[in-house]
Subunit: 207 residues, 2 copies
């Protein structure tokens, strides 16, 4: 059965977005710093918007550590994200970019877009992960956030592995990833990779 890996980028002070994150502003005001590691260095939403198709991670020179981590992500058999993240990215422009099924956790499953777009709307994180397992064919499930879905999955004991990409910045405000989860999760660190743009911490959840 495919394991579930929470995989998300945060600042050193635990924020997954800068303030004022909304459609068209993805990670919030000057939040791009969180994803420098994905783009091989500084980039701006303005450029992303202007170029239409956007910056392509494949087209930029990535640090080898960042490249290795991104390439691994491609091994997932299904991706689970929250509705907020889906809305923030405007459904990744209307089409699932992951190459595998993308489950969107939402109470408003009636908003389900045409299946050809590659998204499956599911009510509840447990149901979404269950459906993801059916679709993933034994491959790992990537849980991409946002923070709300991540916390629900952690509390429900549905997360087997955690990979946190820590960007070198204290954002000072934004959306917190863990917040006050209210329960302890013991971890075994299984790997650390790092580049100038992120430190990639990987853990196994101990039960």
């Amino acid at each position: 059965m495919g394991s579930v890996m929470l995989d998300i980028t945060m600042s050193l002070d635990g924020f997954v977005t800068a303030p004022d994150d909304r459609p068209g502003r993805g990670l919030g005001v000057d939040g791009e710093v969180l994803h420098y590691w994905v783009f091989g260095g500084p980039w701006k939403y303005e450029d992303y918007e202007r170029d239409g198709e956007g910056l392509k991670p494949d087209a930029v020179q990535l640090d080898p550590a960042d490249r290795a981590v991104l390439d691994e992500g491609a091994h997932a058999g299904a991706i689970v994200v929250g509705r907020r993240m889906y809305d923030m990215t405007d459904g990744w422009g209307g089409r699932n970019p992951f190459g595998v099924p993308c489950l969107v956790v939402t109470h408003r499953v009636e908003d389900q877009p045409d299946p050809s777009a590659g998204f499956v709307f599911v009510d509840g994180v447990e149901a979404a992960i269950e459906r993801a397992r059916e679709l993933a064919g034994g491959k790992p499930i990537g849980l991409g956030g946002g923070a709300s879905v991540a916390r629900q999955a952690l509390r429900a004991g549905l997360v087997d592995e955690i990979q946190i990409h820590i960007a070198p910045v204290i954002l000072g405000e934004g959306r917190t990833l863990f917040g006050v989860l209210g329960e302890r999760v013991r971890l075994e660190r299984t790997r650390v990779l790092d580049s100038p743009y992120a430190t990639h911490l990987r853990y196994r959840v101990l039960r």
Copy 2:
């Protein structure tokens, strides 16, 4: 002039103590996990109390990465800590254990113990760091926390370097290190070391 390094351990979710930290309970209920890296593995407050003198980091087998980080800490010329940390440890049992002057930030400087104990009570984090510089003879200043002093120093722009030791645990509650600092601090990662018990992230503060 000696640089100021904030040097503190936190959980992956950003807490520097577990709940119910108080004198005799140091890092709070089952908070010892934060400092496994300092003691070469699991330890308990009960043992620390029972042995009187306490566990000695020198006497235990440390991971080489943890050992290297601890040894570096010994190069500081002065240490600055908050009053709360001083009280939590009961003044480290009544005697400064650091081998260099220890400045304690407090509004109640009249509580200053006998100077032979090795502590200097100073009102305000800026004044404490200024005094630390005078006493450190050009060596680095170690800013050891707690969270309140760390945040004050960050906001005042007094921190030159940050070293965060991330323990492999989500505590779920406790005292947050950064909280909502309210301002951004750009960082350059300068080093990553890791062991099974902590990932040591070192950054330079960019101005």
